[in-house]
């Protein structure tokens, strides 16, 4: 039954993905009907399936039309404008990094060179994971303060 429903879907929906969705929805409704005892006569199965296909496609089309109308009306609001990232003064950042203590600069470079975790950086530097976190937080707080002072 599935391939037949899919053909119906391809014919009416002109989309393989939509046809696959239709197959699932119709088969689920068919199973529900069978379990509920609403579908006892095998001869009526095709009619039942066809009716279900039609109703489902109509629902999908109504839903699609509603979506199109809503997008037409509210699309500009629903799809937000792309937000630009705030500009960053790279030269100032380089100067701010130079003001860090050696351990802080090392941890920052190790962290951001390859987005290393605190555990990985710690192993490589002979520092505990917790200590790396503390050093990194302190360094980043100082960097933010340094950058804000220049803005």
């Amino acid at each position: 039954m599935g391939p037949r429903i899919r053909l119906y879907g391809l014919r009416h929906l002109r989309s393989a993905a939509a046809a696959d969705d239709l197959v699932q929805q119709v088969l689920v409704k068919m199973l529900e009907a069978l379990r509920a005892g609403r579908l006892r006569d095998a001869d009526k199965l095709a009619h039942f399936v066809l009716g279900t296909c039609r109703m489902t496609v109509l629902d999908q089309r109504r839903s699609a039309r509603r979506q199109e109308q809503l997008l037409e009306e509210f699309g500009g609001v629903l799809v937000p404008a792309q937000r630009e990232m705030p500009p960053l003064d790279a030269d100032r950042l380089a100067r701010c990094v130079q003001t860090l203590r050696e351990r802080e600069r090392t941890v920052v470079v190790m962290t951001f060179f390859d987005e290393r975790t605190a555990a990985e950086s710690g192993r490589s530097l002979g520092i505990t994971e917790a200590n790396v976190r503390v050093i990194r937080h302190r360094a980043l707080r100082q960097l933010r303060t340094c950058m804000e002072a220049g803005s």
Binding site: P86, E102, R105, F112, S124, G126, E148, S151
Partner: protein, 203 residues
């Protein structure tokens, strides 16, 4: 960057910028990440702060990978750089050794491996001196692994490429609580410039 008070004034429970940065770097535990995401779906002020952390993170990543910093690093950074296909020019020094070195325009990173026995040292400084022995820069309390047998110095490739042919002496020093210094190793760099450019400086 936006001053924090202005950006956060609309939020009653602002997320710490450090937490937002950890969130961006995927360093938060799952439960904390969930809470941050729920909050970010409700709060534009923290979303704006997150954008600033993303910009800072991007800037730091660019800077860290630029090869322009003089900084002590761990072995895994060097290995990762090599694995990523970066050209890493490396020189290995034993204590007391003089090494002739250079850097080409194609090199991405410049690394010096300074061997030393640092066992027992609680604080290690790396001092840079001119050929007359005058200290020009000191890196105080560098991170060291006491049994690693040395330090990996990530020298500024930008500095190296601009530097004229010159000599520089690096000294690893153990410094005790009273400030007394003990020489762990001295390493002489004889840099030969191979990249054409304007004349450089004299010490």
């Amino acid at each position: 960057m936006t001053p924090p008070n202005r950006a956060r004034s609309d939020c009653l429970r602002p997320i710490e910028p450090g937490v937002l940065l950890d969130y961006w770097l995927a360093l938060l535990p799952a439960a904390e990440e969930d809470a941050v995401e729920v909050h970010l779906l409700e709060c534009d002020a923290c979303g704006e702060q997150l954008r600033e952390m993303i910009a800072l993170s991007d800037g730091l990543r660019t800077l860290a990978r630029s090869g322009s910093l003089r900084v002590v690093v761990g072995e895994d950074l060097v290995q990762h750089a090599l694995g990523a296909g970066l050209l890493v020019r490396q020189y290995a020094f034993e204590p007391g050794q003089t090494v002739h070195c250079t850097i080409s325009a194609d090199d991405d990173l410049l690394v010096a491996r300074l061997a030393a026995d640092m066992s027992g040292a609680t604080r290690v400084d790396l001092s840079f001196c001119d050929p007359h022995g005058v200290e020009r820069q000191r890196m105080t309390d560098i991170p060291v692994v006491s049994d690693a047998g040395g330090v990996i110095l990530h020298e500024s490739a930008v500095f190296g490429k601009r530097s004229p042919s010159t000599s520089m002496v690096a000294r690893l020093l153990a410094v005790d609580a009273e400030g007394a210094e003990q020489l762990l190793g001295e390493y002489t760099f004889h840099h030969t410039r191979t990249i054409p450019g304007p004349p450089g400086w004299e010490w």
